[in-house]
């Protein structure tokens, strides 16, 4: 079964091809069957392969499908590499991906671009699978670019509205900055270590380079740059809230469970390199901590239901980066897994709410949905509980593990993480209390189809019970410290932090003991609120630093001086053409004299040279 690994990314790609070539002519159920079925086949195959792998010796397995490029002594194969980390990622991408596809079949039902949607999302899934399965950096980069393309196509899916196109472009350009850093890092690694194969690179890096010297630091920093772009961390994070312009299944799949975790995967994959560059690794932790606080604060003041979840995603990925930064590799990946479950659950439930409110996103226009939409309510409860890491949810196990490991590395970072947990509790329950409690707002439709309900139920179960699904990653990552923190002060404080947040949220939004409006009414508080609302002004910063100067330089060159060269060439050619074609007079004697003249000239040239 494991030899069929190559089919896992191939099924969605075939789905993409079929739908892009013939999608317009197929009936809607058939489109759904192809679109969802291809990912279902991948998921089934991945499950079987994963089971076979985990029951075996867990030795890494390599499958080479052929040589992609071969120049001189450089040979880049189409190779796939399967180890415990890959298996985890496969489960996330195909499993959660499959559930989201089923949901999307219901959510996008009355959209005219049904076939196009499934084609794009299949393309995305196949690119993501290539990314996680790649055994060499070039193939990984192919998957990396592929997911970027898929993300662009899907964010701007409803292209008639120019704002969506703008959001898609913003996402693409920002991640491009990161991609360029990644590419330079790739080249650096290749020129120094002469291979693209990831395992070989790690081996050679550890044996040839000394820890902390310039080369590993530079390479790791560049790879980090790439990861920052794709995973929406500081300073390249402001594209993610705008990317919520895409359909909700897209937000769930790409911007919660898969693409944004690609950066985390990259760092985890190349962890040996990061271990060799402690300064960069510390930067990872620092960036993670800062981002999680920033994004948490921003999520606190948002009014759009999806933007709250977007900022929450940025924040949670900050946790993963924090874990990677302190060396808790397997904890980061475990949190990736559980985050995929509960964040997808939250997004899909939000989608159900939006669907029933006929695409209204403002949470303050909703209310009292507890009775009207019980499924969405319970999904949100479970999801938020897991998000806040309330005990015995899957989120609890992963976040707890991270914070304990962080404490061992740096108590300061741990404090930031706890503060973040409090804030997470506040905003996630704020969302629930505003939308599901309080004054009732009328709903346009209350029933959602089975395609949307079943995935919600399944994801709810996973979010609750997923803590048991921890895949042993010891075969991949070095095991670090092993302090036992059960039941000491640190672990108690960590466990209680979300409850503090829950309490604050109850006080402000459920019982209305305190009023958020009055708190934010005063000048300074209002300024802070606006500041957080705009994502800590990062967009404004970029606008002033990058966009405005660029536009003014572009305006200087309005008449396009460089283009003048090309215009001159074109003009020259035209003039040349009209002059030369004057020689075609159509008269025989003229032609004959040209032959004679030509003969004389070439004899002259021959004699004279």
């Amino acid at each position: 079964m494991i030899e069929l690994l190559g089919w896992v990314p191939l099924f969605p790609f075939l789905g993409f091809l079929i739908l892009i070539l013939a999608g317009e002519r197929l009936s809607k159920p058939l489109i759904a069957w192809v679109g969802v079925g291809s990912v279902a086949a991948s998921a089934l195959l991945a499950a079987l392969i994963g089971a076979e792998f985990l029951n075996g010796t867990m030795q890494p397995y390599r499958l080479v499908l052929g040589v992609w490029m071969e120049v001189d002594d450089l040979s880049i194969p189409f190779g796939f590499y399967l180890d415990a980390l890959t298996v985890t990622m496969l489960f996330v991408v195909t499993g959660v991906g499959f559930l989201i596809h089923v949901y999307a079949a219901g959510f996008m039902d009355d959209d005219p671009g049904y076939a196009r949607f499934f084609a794009y999302i299949n393309l995305f899934v196949s690119a993501m699978l290539v990314l996680v399965l790649a055994d060499n950096l070039v193939l990984l980069y192919l998957g990396w670019e592929g997911v970027g393309l898929g993300s662009y196509l899907l964010i701007g899916f409803w292209y008639e509205d120019p704002n969506n196109g703008y959001a898609a472009r913003k996402a693409f350009v920002m991640t491009r900055v990161g991609d360029t850093a990644l590419l330079v890092g790739l080249f650096l690694l290749f020129t120094q270590l002469h291979t693209f194969d990831i395992q070989l690179l790690m081996l050679r890096a550890t044996s040839q380079w000394t820890s902390g010297s310039l080369l590993p630091v530079a390479a790791a920093a560049l790879l980090l740059g790439g990861a920052l772009g794709k995973s929406a961390q500081l300073p390249l994070q402001s594209w993610l809230p705008d990317a919520m312009a895409g359909p909700t299944p897209v937000s769930a799949l790409i911007h919660a469970a898969t693409m944004v975790t690609a950066g985390v995967y990259l760092i985890a994959r190349t962890h040996a390199l990061f271990i060799m560059a402690p300064s960069v690794q510390f930067a990872v932790a620092g960036i993670g901590a800062t981002t999680l606080l920033m994004a948490g604060c921003s999520a606190l003041v948002q009014t759009d239901i999806k933007r709250i979840l977007a900022y929450s995603t940025i924040s949670q990925i900050g946790y993963m980066f924090l874990a990677l930064g302190v060396g808790a590799w397997s904890s980061a990946i475990f949190h990736l897994l559980t985050h995929a479950f509960f964040k997808a659950l939250l997004f899909l439930a939000a989608g159900a709410v939006i669907f029933c409110f006929h695409h209204e996103h403002n949470i303050f226009k909703m209310g009292g949905l507890r009775k009207a939409m019980p499924l969405a309510f319970w999904s949100f409860m479970i999801g938020s509980a897991a998000l806040s890491a309330l005990p015995f949810t899957s989120g609890f196990y992963s976040k707890h593990e991270i914070l304990l490991a962080v404490f061992d590395a740096s108590p300061g970072l741990w404090a930031a993480g706890c503060l973040g947990a409090i804030i997470t509790g506040i905003y996630s329950f704020r969302l629930i209390f505003v939308v599901f409690f309080g004054r009732k707002c009328p709903v346009t439709k209350a029933r959602v189809g089975w395609q949307m309900s079943v995935p919600l139920i399944l994801l709810g179960a996973l979010a609750l019970l997923g803590g048991t699904l921890k895949i042993p990653l010891d075969s991949v990552f070095p095991v670090l410290f092993n302090h036992d923190h059960t039941f000491d002060l640190v672990s108690v404080v960590t466990a209680l932090a979300p409850f503090v947040g829950l309490l604050i949220a109850v006080l402000f939004y459920l019982t209305h003991t305190f009023s958020a409006q009055r708190l934010a009414g005063s000048g300074l508080a209002n300024q802070m609120r606006i500041f957080c609302f705009n994502g800590w002004g990062i967009d404004a910063l970029y606008g002033a630093l990058v966009v405005r100067p660029f536009k003014s330089i572009a305006k200087l060159n309005k008449n396009d001086a460089v283009d003048g060269i090309y215009v001159a060439i074109a003009l020259l050619s035209r003039v040349g053409c009209s002059r030369v074609s004057a020689s075609q007079t159509g008269r025989i004697r003229w032609y004959a004299s040209s032959v004679a003249l030509g003969a004389v000239v070439i004899i002259a040239i021959g004699w004279l040279s």
Binding site: S581, Q584, T585, G586, R587, I588, R589, A592, S593, A596
Partner: protein, 102 residues
């Protein structure tokens, strides 16, 4: 014929050639052009004969036979074409045949 140097013979044939060429370039009547073409071809034939005679080989004369034959074939086809052109255009002016240009 070993009194006349080869160069003189070649010079004669070149002069004839140039005369024929001038005829092609100057005359406007299609039949005159074809005649001048004949002159050119025969001039080259003369050159072959002179060259062959210098080397004492029969090759020059053989080439002349071939040239003659093929010139005749060419002119035969040419006259047929001229006939058709006259039927179509009602003129034999070479300069009036300039429908295609540029």
């Amino acid at each position: 014929m070993n009194g006349i140097p080869m160069e003189h013979g070649l010079l004669l044939s070149v002069v004839l050639f140039v005369l024929g060429l001038t005829g092609v370039l100057v005359r406007r009547n299609l039949i005159m052009i074809l005649m001048s073409l004949e002159v050119m071809l025969n001039a080259t034939g003369l050159a072959f004969i002179v060259a062959g005679s210098r080397w004492g080989q029969a090759d020059g004369q053989i080439m002349f036979l071939l040239i003659l034959t093929l010139a005749a074939a060419e002119v035969g086809v040419g006259l047929g074409l001229v006939l058709q052109i006259f039927r179509r255009f009602h003129t034999l002016d070479a300069d009036s045949l300039n429908g295609m240009k540029g």
